[in-house]
């Protein structure tokens, strides 16, 4: 099935754009913005708004039509977790499958100082009425906080015999998170620790596909709660133990 953006008629290709150009506002600026949108490949570009941001910047809102379509059937993507267990179900699953508590270490690594993501998943209180991993009776959860160096995270995980490591990355400007995530994987591999842990990434600009490409077991984007991560970890752990 080939798909295109939908405005009000199937396959109309309607797209809304907004951007700023480094030029003064005026008729010429509108024309330039229109030509630029056309240059991006859009047809029937219409600049519906132009406003001076300063003497030499202009902000535009545009509507345009695209002729580009995509074969949806060829898109490959799988969520890390298809069906999510509840907190109680996770507990019961751990009890019957592993007969011990499992250990999860989490941190926001590198220079990133935003703990909001890792806290949402790990903190006792959780987020939006979804309890965090610290509340799970069969999970021992260690939240190391923010700006944790990759070496320190690995060291800690080794020390507490972690089953899984959760890495949170909120800041993604200039792809800093990719560098940092790659470094952690390389470090784990150099120390021959990669197979010892289930390694999971989370963050608003992260998805499962990118995470797997970087060498992680899974990636979780916005809208993720503790039970998604817990479900993935316990299922993956069962898979690994079963394979042994």
């Amino acid at each position: 099935m080939f798909i295109k953006p939908y405005g009000d008629t199937l396959d109309d290709g309607a797209v809304q754009l907004s951007f700023t150009l480094p030029i003064p506002c005026g008729g010429k600026a509108r024309e330039a913005a229109k030509l630029y949108v056309q240059k991006l490949g859009f047809k029937r570009a219409e600049i519906v708004h132009a406003a001076a941001m300063s003497d030499d910047f202009t902000f535009f809102v545009a509507y345009a039509r695209t002729e580009v379509s995509l074969d949806y059937d060829k898109v490959e993507y799988a969520e890390a977790v298809e069906k999510c267990l509840s907190m109680d179900e996770v507990g019961a699953f751990i009890k019957t499958t592993f007969r011990r508590k499992i250990v999860i270490v989490g941190a926001c690594t590198g220079s990133d100082a935003h703990t909001v993501g890792i806290d949402a998943i790990m903190n006792m209180k959780g987020y939006n009425h979804h309890f965090g991993l610290e509340r799970y009776p069969m999970i021992e959860a260690f939240n190391l906080g923010s700006q944790v160096p990759n070496e320190k995270l690995l060291e800690y995980a080794k020390q507490v015999k972690a089953d899984a490591i959760l890495v949170s990355q909120i800041v993604t400007q200039k792809d800093v998170h990719i560098k940092n995530l790659t470094e952690l994987i390389e470090l784990a591999e150099a120390e021959k620790l990669r197979d010892k842990f289930i390694m999971v990434v989370g963050g608003p600009r992260v998805n499962n596909k990118t995470a797997c490409e970087l060498g992680y077991d899974a990636g979780f984007g916005s809208g993720t709660y503790a039970e998604h991560v817990a479900t993935f970890v316990v299922k993956k752990l069962q898979e690994r133990l079963g394979g042994r």
Binding site: Y6, D8, T9, V61, Y63
Partner: protein, 521 residues
């Protein structure tokens, strides 16, 4: 509903304004009672069973009415019923013959008794159909009562293609909309016939046809079943075919219809005698089918300044109310309109909007008020527009409006895209929930800006209505007292379709409606 007035409006003044509005509409109602129009006759035929079109697309009700053109002052119903009796055919078969060229005015008249008996049978069938629609709606609304939102969320679809409208309406319903209005294609209001069948081509909207009504009704019923709540359907009962569309809406279980006693005169240049006569018949049909009307006072503010002309909104609401009362309509069906249209650059503009909206609520406590969003000052800056809509949503909830037509961030750009509607609904639900009990929490400074504003608007309204009553409504419209637009009483479209009823005028549908609504003279 709050009992005391937060704005300290004087009851005596409100009563005075109402009494003046009654003085304004009284003489017009006398004219209405003595007249019929070609579209009233066609609406009558439709309610008796006339439907379909010939191979050129000319609707059967038009063909039949044209055949009776010389005697419309006597009513067209007798000819149609006579044909049914003489040919002993059901309406569906007679319609086919009329479409094929049969002239019903040429058929020998049968005796009066048989006409009356047939008319009784047909109006009983009509009553059964309308009553079933009313009962069905009431049952569904009751079942979904726990999910009822206040205000009800009203959004429009306007793709021009009824099948595309269905997709958009369905999405809107699942996003949380309570009411879907299908906007009409431009200029349908000036067609002196209602197109037939499903349509896929329109400009800025979709043709109002009975088949399109059916298609959207069934789509919304399906969406409602999925959501466990009833989704209301709206269309326009305005323009040159106002009563015919009222008839179609009544038969196809529409839930609301846009219907204003003066909009067509002022903004579509339809003859005033025609519009006044048509709105009366339309509103009787609306009432019999328990359809909420939406009046169009927002238009006064899009054409004139919303602060200077605020009183014309209240004056029009009061006039609409009196005309509706004359048609037997209870207050719970009078969706009087008003709008949030003050220039956003106005200092304290929000306070004026708030005061005016609350004033409407206090003067019309039992009416399902319809509040309309900013349109005049919306621009291509969709982000600013979205912010303006947030303030509109705030006033709407803070003043307990009943029906809220949501503003679209792309109002100035195009008819709504799927996501425009979703963003509007998200904004409204966010605001409504966050200030759920705000109405009961606030009071206003006795001599503050808002109290002063409401008082001033009411005073100006009384002065205006007194002047209109003194001159007479026909004259007031001729001299541009409403919306600064002057319309001569014998000018405008559709004047040649107005007829003084003859002493022998016969309309069994009108008799049925007047009896049902207890307004028989």
């Amino acid at each position: 509903m709050a009992t005391g007035s937060k704005l300290g409006l004087s009851k005596t003044k409100i009563n005075k304004a109402r009494a003046l509005a009654r003085e304004v509409t009284g003489p017009v109602q006398e004219f209405i009672d003595g007249h019929t129009t070609v579209t009233i006759e066609r609406a009558t035929l439709r309610l008796l069973g006339a439907d379909g079109a010939n191979s050129d697309g000319a609707p059967v009700p038009n063909l039949a009415a044209e055949q009776c053109a010389g005697t419309l002052a006597d009513g067209a119903a007798r000819h149609y019923i006579n044909a049914l009796v003489k040919l002993s055919k059901p309406p569906e078969e007679l319609n086919k013959e009329i479409a094929g060229g049969l002239d019903i005015s040429k058929i020998e008249p049968t005796d009066e008794k048989r006409i009356r008996a047939k008319a009784a049978e047909l109006t009983a069938g009509l009553d059964k159909r309308l009553s079933a629609n009313v009962a069905h709606r009431a049952r569904k609304l009751k079942e979904g009562a726990d999910k009822a939102k206040a205000p009800l969320i009203y959004v429009i679809v306007a793709t021009g293609n009824i099948y595309e409208d269905v997709k958009q309406a369905r999405a809107a319903a699942l996003q949380g909309a309570d009411i879907i209005a299908v906007i009409r294609t431009t200029a349908q209001s000036l067609l002196d016939y209602v197109p037939y069948g499903a349509t896929t081509e329109g400009f800025g909207g979709t043709y109002a046809t009975q088949e399109n009504f059916r298609i959207m009704r069934s789509a919304l019923d399906a969406a409602g079943a999925q959501e466990n709540r009833y989704i209301r359907l709206v269309n326009y009962c305005s323009g040159l075919c106002m009563p015919e569309i009222a008839a179609m809406g009544a038969m196809e279980r529409l839930d609301m219809m846009l219907n204003d006693s003066m909009y067509g005169i002022l903004f579509r240049d339809i003859n005033m005698y025609r519009t006044f006569t048509d709105q009366f018949f339309s509103r009787m049909i609306n009432t019999a089918a328990d359809i909420v009307i939406n009046t169009g006072e927002d238009n006064y503010l899009t054409t004139s300044d919303a602060i200077e002309k605020a009183h014309t909104v209240l004056a029009s609401q009061l006039i609409n109310e009196q005309f509706a009362k004359s048609a037997g309509m209870p207050e719970r069906l009078m969706g009087l309109g008003h709008a949030f249209e003050i220039n956003p650059d106005t200092k304290n503009g929000f306070l004026y909007e708030y005061a005016q909206a609350l004033m409407a609520r206090e003067i019309f406590p039992g009416h399902p008020l319809k509040y309309m969003p900013p349109t005049k000052f919306m621009t291509g800056n969709i982000f600013k527009g979205y912010a303006m809509n947030t303030l509109f949503n705030f006033v709407s909830k803070a003043t307990n409006q009943s029906i809220e037509l949501l503003g679209m961030l792309t109002e100035a750009i195009h008819t709504p895209y799927l996501q425009d509607r979703a963003l509007a609904i998200e904004n409204a639900l966010y605001v409504h929930n966050n200030i759920a009990d705000f109405f009961n929490e606030v009071e206003f400074k006795k001599n503050g800006i808002m109290v002063g504003r409401a008082k001033a608007v009411l005073d100006e309204t009384i002065a205006m209505l007194a002047e209109v009553a003194g001159r007479g409504l026909f004259d007031a419209i001729e001299t541009g007292m409403f919306a600064d637009i002057k319309r001569p009483r014998n000018g405008g479209k559709g004047f040649d379709g107005v007829f003084e009823k003859s002493p022998g005028y016969y309309n069994p549908v009108e008799d049925y409606l007047k009896k049902k609504l207890k307004i028989a003279k």
